[in-house]
């Protein structure tokens, strides 16, 4: 099938190809270089770590949005969903000594009955799933382990449980994201439209929720100190260098997403549907199921990002999450996730998010006029993406 004559070897053409393939990394390099030339003190491990940790919650959000862009869709509601999830997380995480907290009784119910009921439910669902998948006796494993965990929490001394709000945050994120998924997969709406609607719903719900506090609409603040530590703590490497937990969470999410995208049937099906839905259909791929699963994963990531964001900014208002989706989408497209679907990589998304943060931070670091920052940021996004798409334009 291959014909084998070679035309004159064109070294420069190959070089150009290689340059294009690594265009993103080169852009990132050049940007850092420019900043260093202007301000040599910029490049310190501390600054770089700072950029990474600032990029992490939005990075996790972008990991969620990326899959939806691969479907040739998008998600305008990611930011508002994050806002809703963050409000839920924060409301459950207010420190017990704070007088005007949203749920005064929380430390009594939360550590006792709620974990037990959740454990019971998880155990049952796990059992059913395992049984349906294998049909074997192993189904008692999830049942027993989860009930045991539940019982332990029921009888253990009542300290604040900080992981439960994460669960609720994820549930809220998944609910909204599945609404989007339903619109795309079942109602055949474009993701732009359905998420345009759902972001309003999410925003309205957040406002009502925050407004429903006894003292009226006030920021959800004074969060539990244990939680703050969990989010903002870091692992000391040496005197001057700490690795923030946030960066580690981002890395973990990235690894999991990398595996899902590249090593599982779900990931491959996602790319196939994004690239050519008809081909996927005639090859026997269940399109509705795949789309719903990818949206579900996005919802989980939104929930995680929101939980961490609540801890990072330590005060959640109705405006939390505003425009985050734009950063996430910009990160994805800078990172080479194509809006026409079927193309994208997790490392690309990570680099994209980091490039965006480098722009943000270095403009701030160089003391550039705030309005000018917007213009420069806009130009760099356009430049980066237009260089990156070159590699998909077939030369003829």
């Amino acid at each position: 099938m291959e014909s084998s004559i070679q035309v004159k070897d064109k070294k420069w053409a190959n070089l150009a190809d290689t340059l294009l393939n690594y265009a993103l990394y080169i852009i990132l390099g050049i940007m850092i270089l420019v900043v260093i030339i202007i301000e040599p003190s910029f490049v310190s491990p501390k600054n770089l770590i700072k950029i990474l940790s600032q990029a992490s919650t939005r990075g996790i959000l972008a990991l969620g949005v990326a899959g939806l862009i691969v479907f040739a869709g998008t998600d305008l509601s990611a930011g508002r969903i994050l806002g809703a999830c963050a409000a839920v997380s924060a409301s459950m995480l207010q420190s017990v000594t704070y007088a005007s907290r949203m749920y005064p009784q929380i430390q009594e119910i939360m550590p006792k009955w709620v974990p037990f009921i959740i454990a019971l439910a998880a155990g049952l669902i796990g059992t059913i799933l395992v049984y349906r998948k294998t049909g074997s006796f192993q189904f008692w494993i999830p049942l027993v382990t989860t009930i045991a965990t539940g019982l332990y929490y029921l009888f253990s001394s009542g300290t604040m449980t900080i992981w439960l709000p994460l669960l609720f945050s994820i549930i809220v994120g998944v609910a909204f994201s599945l609404l989007n998924g339903f619109g795309v997969a079942k109602l055949h709406l474009h993701a732009f439209i359905i998420s345009l609607g759902s972001q309003l719903i999410a925003y309205g719900a957040t406002c009502i929720y925050i407004d429903s506090q006894k003292g009226g609409a006030q920021p959800l603040a004074s969060l539990d100190s244990q939680f703050i530590k969990l989010v903002n703590g870091s692992i000391p490497i040496n005197d001057s260098l700490n690795i923030p937990y946030l960066v580690i969470y981002f890395a973990l999410c990235s690894v999991v997403m990398y595996i899902i995208w590249n090593k599982t049937t779900l990931g491959k099906n996602m790319f196939a549907i994004g690239g050519n839905p008809e081909a996927a259909e005639v090859s026997g791929v269940n399109i509705v199921k795949t789309i719903m699963q990818v949206y579900l994963i996005s919802g989980v990531l939104y929930g995680i990002a929101a939980y961490l964001e609540a801890g990072r900014i330590q005060s959640v208002t109705t405006n939390t999450g505003l425009n985050y989706e734009l950063d996430a989408i910009s990160g994805c497209v800078i990172g080479g996730v194509s809006f026409s679907g079927g193309v994208g990589t997790i490392p690309g998304v990570i680099i994209g998010v980091i490039i965006l943060q480098v722009i943000n931070y270095s403009l701030y670091y160089l003391n550039v006029n705030a309005y000018l920052q917007y213009i420069i940021k806009g130009l760099i996004i356009i430049l980066a993406v237009s260089i990156d798409v070159r590699k998909y334009i077939k030369k003829k």
């Binding site: 291959e2 004559i5 049937t265 099906n269």
Partner: protein
């Protein structure tokens, strides 16, 4: 007694489709259609463009749902809701339109929908090995990790065939599998088909290439206007008879009489080479007024690339394209883009018309006139009357089967979509026509008409360059045949001296 008979029947046929009806808005696509496929046999399904062949197969594969009728597989009544169920029940299909994910590689396309897994993760090793096994047994040479979008149409076609074979299905449907294959690949496909047939697979084979049908098939079913017309043993049929059954009238000659007389030189191509691989190299020829120049060659001999380089779709590295007007003056043209080429009087009908030429959601009218839209502006607005007139002209000359001018393009049959696109370019009234596989996927009756059209264009003094993989067609209507081999011109044969053997020898010259 009765029961025994039905037992016998069910053991004879792997597939029975009985009295299938299917109506689309405005079209009765299937009207009591029927098809009975025996184990270990090749069954050709024939009919003009729009006869309902693909629709019948899509009903079988669960893409469409029939309005009435019964489908039995191995005697058992089945009903597939979607392709997934059809695949699981032993039906595999190569679709008329290549359904591939261009951004992904070969092996991911082949195993899509059934990736091998190990502990919940995709087993890339196994996927690679399995692909290699399939390729080896089918004697296909390709790296499973190559991206589909970078392959040629013929290579993609072979991958699609390999994919269908890899399902190990009881019933294999091939809907125009050879439309973009050259002789050599067709032979290859036939070896594959014979092997599968001997293993007991029932194969349904749809094609518009008559010679193939009689060579490969055991039985032939002919359809017309969605109805079953006849089922016969292939050995009892001749091409003449099949054509007659298909079109419902006698069609004595496959090729119209050649009345065109080549005149002066109108185009010189000198040492033309393209810049980016794959491309043509150092190609020189000239074209006369009123001449039909055929271009033969194997798949991958870069005939398409040659046309594209002349037409400005591909970047020219060196060489010249020179127009000579009636007074004998020479005008070198650059053809930097297709727009440039069109204004220089060129038109090109591309090989992959379905992928590159069709606005699927738009009407037949829109698709027919879009290349020429400026021509319809009258006092700043489009003249509806002239548009309607020209659309009708396209429908008439190309014999397009469509319920109305407003019908969206996607609901036309594959062959009819192609006819509209060809008509679109004829409307542009070019001086030099570059045709890339102009009759691919088009039924015999309409082929004849396209040949007639080409000859009458030549009679008007236009120059026609025509790439084709069907040698009888080249021999039938061309004045000269240029043979390409591996990107270079291997030789030009005159109509009087050209034979199939000679073309094939030349085609292998630079390999």
């Amino acid at each position: 007694m009765f029961k025994k008979e039905s037992d016998e029947l069910s053991s004879e046929f792997v597939l029975e489709m009985i009295e299938i009806d299917k109506t689309f808005p405005g079209v009765k696509a299937l009207d009591h259609a029927q098809l009975k496929l025996r184990y270990g046999s090749v069954h050709a399904l024939m009919g003009e463009n729009g006869a309902g062949k693909s629709t019948l197969m899509k009903c079988l594969f669960g893409i469409y749902r029939e309005d009435a009728g019964e489908i039995r597989i191995e005697g058992k009544k089945v009903f597939f809701e979607n392709p997934e169920q059809a695949l699981k029940n032993g039906v595999a299909m190569v679709h008329q339109e290549l359904n591939q994910v261009l951004q992904r590689n070969i092996m991911e396309n082949i195993w899509l929908g059934r990736f091998p897994e190990k502990n919940g993760f995709i087993d890339n090793r196994k996927m690679y090995d399995d692909t290699m096994d399939v390729f080896k047994s089918l004697e296909i040479n390709a790296d499973p990790r190559n991206i589909i979008g970078k392959l040629s149409v013929a290579e993609r076609q072979m991958v699609e065939i390999a994919k269908a074979v890899s399902y190990n299905a009881k019933i294999l449907v091939l809907d125009e599998p050879t439309s973009s294959l050259a002789e050599q690949e067709v032979e290859h496909l036939f070896r594959i088909i014979k092997k599968l047939r001997d293993e007991g697979v029932g194969i349904i084979y749809i094609s518009h290439k008559m010679e193939e049908i009689l060579r490969i098939s055991d039985e032939v079913t002919i359809m017309r206007d969605g109805q079953w017309i006849a089922t016969e043993k292939a050995e009892d049929l001749t091409i003449q008879e099949i054509v007659k059954l298909m079109v419902g009238r006698d069609l004595t000659n496959r090729y119209p009489p050649k009345t065109n007389v080549p005149g002066e030189t109108m185009l010189e191509v000198k040492n033309l080479s393209g810049r980016y691989m794959p491309t043509c190299q150092d190609v020189s020829f000239d074209l006369h007024r009123g001449e039909i120049l055929g271009i033969a060659g194997l798949v991958g001999s870069r005939r398409t690339e040659l046309l594209e380089t002349i037409f400005g779709i591909r970047t020219r590295e060196s060489g010249e394209v020179i127009l000579r007007n009636e007074a004998g003056e020479l005008h070198p043209v650059k053809n930097k883009s297709s727009r440039d080429a069109i204004s220089n009087g060129f038109a090109m009908i591309t090989e992959e018309r379905r992928a590159t030429g069709i606005f699927a959601g738009m009407s037949v009218t829109f698709n027919a006139i879009i290349a020429n839209i400026i021509g319809y502006v009258k006092r700043g607005f489009l003249s509806t009357k002239r548009i309607a007139g020209d659309t009708q002209w396209v429908i008439d000359t190309m014999r397009v089967k469509t319920p109305s001018h407003k019908t969206p393009m996607r609901s036309l049959s594959g062959g009819n979509q192609q006819k509209v696109i060809i008509g679109r370019w004829l409307l542009a009234k070019p001086e030099i026509l570059l045709l890339d596989e102009p009759t691919r996927g088009i039924d015999v009756g309409s082929k004849y008409e396209i040949y007639q059209l080409i000859i009458s264009l030549a009679n008007e003094g236009k120059g026609v360059v025509m790439v084709s993989s069907e040698m009888p067609e080249l021999l039938g209507i061309c004045d000269r045949i240029a043979v390409m081999s591996n990107g270079r011109l291997a030789g030009i044969l005159d109509r009087s001296e050209a034979t199939q053997e000679e073309i094939l020898t030349l085609a292998a010259k630079y390999i």
